[in-house]
């Protein structure tokens, strides 16, 4: 379980997993470590695999051949498009909010 992650779109497990996989294929443990290191969110194993399940079902992430008991996942083209659209929307929202804050 993510221990009190920062609320908001930046703590969405699916976006975090997609962002982690944008760097290249990774297995579950490596995704968790990457997210903890770069996003500061400690994602729990149940949350991580819940997100992976939904991402695979949506075709945004695809499993690769297993290495031992661990199986790496890669970002698909559709997943990259979705991630780009989500991040762009977050960027626009952040820019809008910051612009408004400056006018107060």
């Amino acid at each position: 379980m993510a221990r009190k992650p920062a609320r908001g779109p930046a703590s969405d497990p699916e976006l975090l997993v997609l962002s982690s996989l944008a760097e290249g294929p990774k297995h579950g443990y490596a995704i968790m470590e990457d997210i903890a290191m770069h996003a500061g969110v400690e994602m729990g194993p149940g949350t991580l695999y819940g997100a992976i399940t939904r991402l695979v079902e949506n075709g945004w992430v695809a499993p690769l051949e297993a290495r031992g008991r661990q199986r790496p996942y890669r970002l698909t083209g559709k997943g990259a498009e979705h991630l780009k659209a989500q991040l762009e929307s977050m960027r626009q929202l952040a820019a809008f909010g910051l612009r408004r804050l400056r006018t107060i």
Partner: protein
């Protein structure tokens, strides 16, 4: 086998079999590598519940939830029998809960839902078929009655009362069994119709 490994196996066993076949081995490897803390165990158990609910039909969720409500109310009523006033409020509450379930499936925003719920008794904001469903569900699921007497909304028990031409004399376990069966049946009907209505509304709004 160590206790931790045994715990990990049990936790993964909580997931649906099809999910376990797909992801079970890698989740087990991850938990073994990372170590099983209390929070990790809780997170995995929660994840298992979510996965189970994802593959369960809406009617099963609805029936299960109603059964829990009815059982709790039955126990409560046997300790502190409801007054007529409380009983009516309780019945309204059950209708409200059922309706919440249906509306969530249709993707209603909670605030709008509350507004609709607040006004539904005295207005025509709800579609007729929803009101009919609510009353039909009341008919198929006998409600808990104060002191075992037939009440104003007690569809099933009231019917028994009329047919036996006298006060209904049921033992608590008989009422419980009837409550359980009828609640599941009512939940199944409401859940299935609610799901179908939700799917139809979604299809209509998508085609617009």
């Amino acid at each position: 086998m160590s206790v931790e490994r045994w715990m990990i196996r049990r936790l993964i066993g909580l997931y649906p079999a099809s999910w376990q076949a797909e992801y079970g081995q890698e989740l087990e490897a991850l938990l073994a590598q990372r170590g099983l803390t209390f929070w990790a165990a809780l997170d995995v158990a929660w994840g298992a519940l979510v996965q189970r609910l994802r593959y369960v039909g809406p009617w099963k969720i609805c029936a299960g939830f109603l059964l829990i409500c009815r059982t709790a109310a039955l126990v409560w009523n046997s300790v502190h029998p409801f007054s007529n006033e409380v009983y009516v409020w309780f019945t309204n509450g059950i209708c409200l809960v059922r309706h919440f379930g249906q509306r969530f499936e249709e993707g209603f925003p909670p605030i709008r839902l509350l507004k609709v719920q607040w006004e539904w008794r005295s207005s025509v904001m709800l579609p007729d078929f929803v009101v009919c469903l609510l009353w039909a569900s009341e008919f198929v699921s006998p409600v808990i009655l104060p002191g075992g007497a037939a009440g104003p909304h007690g569809g099933g028990v009231a019917l028994l009362h009329v047919r036996s031409s006298g006060p209904v004399d049921l033992r608590p376990e008989e009422i419980f069994i009837m409550e359980a069966v009828a609640t599941c049946l009512g939940g199944a009907v409401i859940g299935a119709l609610g799901g179908a209505a939700g799917a139809r509304l979604s299809a209509n709004s998508a085609s617009r």
